[in-house]
Symmetry: C2
Subunit: 145 residues, 2 copies
């Protein structure tokens, strides 16, 4: 039996470094929008469905309020969103796109295509790989409970 502690055999290390590599590809594209990568993901979630709560966004993005609250405040300062406390339930904060935030979508529309190109694969292949990685994430999440 070979030594199981080989870095290059770790799927975790592959995912960890692939995540950083994706970030490096996104960085110059997102710089033109004035967004970081997590901020971009939050905007994508809001372009899909405006008016989500902090908790709802956290569930979709798998992030805690301790991560999201300061991130959303930075998006608010940038003028892309508004954070309004709900009238019906004062505990809840609703996130809404500003007009500038809505307009930003047009500038972001080409980004996914750039990523597909950088990956050097066709869309179908990426979709298959994407589904496999999602399945891995779901299995891991189940194991943690």
């Amino acid at each position: 039996m070979q030594d199981p502690l080989k870095l290059d055999d770790f799927i975790c290390f592959a995912v960890y470094t692939a995540s950083h590599a994706l970030n490096r590809v996104y960085k110059p594209l997102l710089d033109t929008l004035g967004l970081t990568y997590p901020q971009y993901l939050a905007m994508v979630a809001l372009w899909e469905k405006d008016g989500q709560t902090v908790g709802g966004l956290g569930e979709k993005l798998f992030l805690e309020s301790s991560t999201l609250t300061p991130l959303l405040k930075r998006l608010e300062n940038a003028g892309y969103i508004r954070r309004d406390r709900s009238r019906e339930d004062e505990r809840v904060v609703v996130i809404r796109l500003s007009e500038e935030g809505v307009r930003l979508k047009e500038k972001a529309i080409g980004i996914p295509g750039c990523i597909v190109e950088a990956s050097g694969r066709n869309a179908a292949d990426l979709t298959r790989l994407q589904a496999e990685i999602v399945a891995l994430r779901e299995a891991l999440d189940r194991s943690v409970v």
Copy 2:
């Protein structure tokens, strides 16, 4: 043509969230060793090959000195490594495992098996997926140059 800005179709989002999910699985295991996940990766790299330079580790782990230097100082404070400036080339800092650092490997030996189990897949399947993710990373790295 459908809206390309769907979060759940992004391979980047899959990788990003899978990376966090892996971290959540590792956390309780690594807590028993007193290591964070990036610290664990650095230790794995050193168990593979002791006496690497900061730059060499950075190349292997895809990390900058601005990330590694403070991380390695924490490992030094924990007593797992020593940081010695090279005699031949004073610019270089060589990282060596302490005796405690060497011993720690025994406690870490079971971790990869736990991850395989948490993934709910067999080893061959994981190896295949791992290779695919590495290929993605390499394609992305090539595109950035």
